[in-house]
């Protein structure tokens, strides 16, 4: 059960710990820290847990029962496909040095996981762990979009679209922020992916929902969630898994990771209550879908801020995102008339934007945050944050539109009206979600 390599790495650790090198030297030659590694192994499992089963249940519960399997299948297939593409070239494009293109995108030096072996480290953790942790982000981002065009997209089109989107949108934008690209250089703060993950997915989802078109019967027919029980379970799993997402983004088990977990909990609870009370006030009753959606809104909004703000900043971000996403999902959607089936735009894009901007405010040490960089004011940090948001939105809209047109030309984006009526489970997979 023990590999040979173990002896080796154990030995190394022992040697390092016991040698008398000074702290300064230790800083230079990074060594593996078992505590950090333990946490990152766990965090990786938690983020995978967010997509399958978490997100897939959250979404499956909200669609009609004839489409329940189809959204779960989409989440599952995305998980598999993104994993493979990430290993083949995605990781490299996002995190490898891009040479002369470094500002915009990484290179192919790490394609096929070249150079990622048992001994290679990334900070104090094995690079293999860093690569797979990042892979789980590259999985959940496209999977989030599934909610926007649920109940009508072709499965084959989905696979094509997601493969292209990972390559041309996710990988570069991740590089911009985390891979040494221009947004990171600019000083944009995005601790765990408010911009890279949530705005990115929310905007692309909206574009796709509009291009693919409304579901038949929307918005006059009631399309009630077929099982809010599943949706609540999914929301709970997202919440639990999100600790891995946010506290894991510290890549270490330290005080910042601890605080990231704390603020995640606080913002989420605050946003969930805010949405619940807003609905209670507006419609006379608090709904289960409402509290669950509010929780996700809070999770999204605290994501970019999680390593930077303090408990009271988190409370404020929670309340504001609860209100903001409630209005976007309930009022704005109806006013504008687009059919973002499960409110990917209303929750992820809007929550992500609120969080990204407010990160620039509550990072201020005066407001309990980790503190702004030398010589940066709140106003200028908010400006940087806005640049990140706008740049991501513009790039995302343009490229997503092009990719959708290409996929539409190749395989067609949408099932026929009759197929939509019958339900995607039978039509695309020859299966049914339930035989009870």
């Amino acid at each position: 059960m023990k590999s040979k390599k173990l002896e080796l790495s154990r030995g190394l650790t022992a040697i390092t710990v016991f040698c008398l090198s000074s702290a300064a030297v230790a800083q230079e030659t990074a060594t593996l820290d078992t505590g950090d590694t333990a946490w990152m192994l766990t965090a990786t499992a938690l983020v995978l847990f967010m997509t399958i089963p978490g997100l897939s249940l959250f979404y499956a519960g909200m669609v009609r029962s004839k489409n329940a399997l189809s959204v779960m299948m989409q989440c599952f297939a995305i998980t598999c496909l993104m994993s493979i593409l990430w290993v083949l070239y995605g990781y490299s494009l996002a995190f490898d040095d891009g040479g002369s293109m470094q500002k915009w995108v990484g290179g192919f030096g790490k394609a096929f996981m070249k150079g990622v072996n048992v001994d290679s480290l990334s900070g104090t953790i094995p690079e293999s762990v860093f690569a797979i942790f990042q892979m789980t982000f590259a999985i959940i981002t496209p999977a989030l979009m599934v909610g926007a065009f649920a109940e009508r997209m072709k499965f084959s089109a989905l696979l094509w679209f997601m493969a292209l989107w990972l390559t041309f949108v996710y990988a570069p934008v991740a590089h911009w922020v985390w891979g040494g690209g221009w947004l990171g250089d600019l000083g944009v703060l995005d601790f765990a992916g408010g911009t890279v993950v949530h705005i990115n997915a929310g905007i692309a989802g909206l574009v796709a929902a509009i291009v693919i078109g409304k579901r038949k019967g929307f918005p006059t027919t009631m399309m009630s969630p077929h099982s809010l029980v599943l949706t609540l379970v999914g929301a709970a799993m997202l919440w639990v898994g999100w600790f891995g997402f946010n506290a894991g983004s510290e890549l270490a088990a330290d005080g910042t990771a601890g605080m990231a977990m704390a603020v995640t909990q606080i913002a989420t609870a605050a946003a969930a209550l805010t949405w619940m009370f807003a609905e209670w006030a507006a419609h006379g009753k608090p709904s289960a879908l409402g509290i669950a959606s509010g929780a996700v809104a809070g999770l999204v909004a605290i994501t970019p801020a999680s390593g930077f703000v303090g408990p009271m900043g988190a409370l404020a971000i929670g309340v504001l995102s609860g209100i903001g996403c409630y209005f976007a999902s309930v009022r704005l959607k109806r006013a504008m008339g687009y059919d973002d089936s499960l409110d990917v735009f209303g929750v992820h894009a809007v929550g992500g934007i609120i969080g990204a901007i407010l990160t620039g405010v509550f990072v201020d040490a005066a407001l309990g945050g980790a503190g702004l960089a030398e010589g940066v004011s709140v106003a200028s940090q908010v400006f940087k944050q806005s640049v990140g948001v706008v740049a991501t939105i513009v790039y995302d809209v343009v490229v997503t539109l092009i990719l959708l047109k290409i996929v539409d030309a190749i395989v067609g984006l949408r099932v026929t009206e009759e197929q939509e009526t019958e339900g995607l489970d039978i039509v695309l997979h020859d299966e049914r979600g339930y035989n009870i």
């Binding site: 399309m223 009630s224 507006a282 309930v330 009022r331």
Partner: protein, 112 residues
Amino acid sequence: MKLVTAIIKPFKLDDVRDALSEIGVQGMTVTEVKGFGRQKGHTEMYRGAEYVVDFLPKIKLEIAIDADLLDRIVEALTKAAKTDKIGDGKIFILDLEQAIRIRTGETGKSAL
């Protein structure tokens, strides 16, 4: 013979079954149905939109009986199913030409 069909409120099922058993009804068939009528449906909420659901859960009973028992059964049924609130339901009576017990092949009254 008659085929009595009754649409009742779901939570009245046990009361009705007991009332019918008491007057000697030995069998019946029950179906979960949804009813649309004068009774107002409830509201359901979805993303802030409220939808009125017109179809309410009801229970349909089908009871094949000897014509002689008809009055007593209707009376017992009515009494047991009544709440005096709108939506209590209906009783429909059809003529039943023939009944057969599959197991024995018996027909007519003795099949019930």
